[in-house]
């Protein structure tokens, strides 16, 4: 069964450092997303991406965040200068033709900022 894959599974970084989280969405999907989940809290929407541009972003997705689809398979989330409060599980997700509105999530990248 096709799946969304994410790397790394866990990353520890110093406050102020840049972090790039990587995702390979399901191959025939056209819509890509990032969500985050702070420990013990709700899953929260960050950004949606379609046709090589951001289609919607939440208030959380401020100037320190950026997304990119550098090639035909990868989708990345960059956090420019990490803060302690960025510590969370980050989920990549995708949807597209053949899946209707169904949004499929990856296993997540756990980011710890120290």
């Amino acid at each position: 069964e096709p799946e969304v894959t994410q790397t790394p599974s866990h990353q520890v970084t110093q406050m102020g450092q840049e972090v790039i989280l990587r995702c390979v969405p399901i191959s025939n999907h056209l819509y890509f997303y990032w969500y985050r989940q702070i420990l013990g809290q709700k899953v929260e929407f960050l950004v949606s991406f379609y046709n090589n541009e951001i289609s919607e972003k939440s208030e959380i997705f401020d100037d320190q965040f950026s997304v990119e689809r550098p090639d035909g398979s990868n989708f990345t989330l960059k956090i420019r200068s990490t803060k302690l409060e960025d510590s969370a599980m980050y989920f990549c997700a995708s949807s597209g033709l053949g899946s209707g509105n169904t949004i499929y999530f990856g296993e997540g990248s756990w980011l710890t900022v120290v």
Partner: protein, 112 residues
Amino acid sequence: EDQVTQSPEALRLQEGESSSLNCSYTVSGLRGLFWYRQDPGKGPEFLFTLYSAGEEKEKERLKATLTKKESFLHITAPKPEDSATYLCAVQVYGGSQGNLIFGKGTKLSVKP
């Protein structure tokens, strides 16, 4: 403001003891309601999508129903492997299709 509330926060059942989880929502316009299962440290695993009041979907021991104000996830004769957090999320008109608003989830524990 669009909102999703799940209850109870936690539910402990004996194996075979059927029950229901509730997801109530207040949204400007419902485009779809999703149920996901989440195991500890893992990503949400898709279960069902419901689009209109009266719709029902089933998968093994799970059945999801939808009204104009809430959705129920019925679990019939649960097994220990059904233990997980069940998440409800809504998709509203006016937002991108990927902007899901999640509830806090119901943590289900099924004891043998």
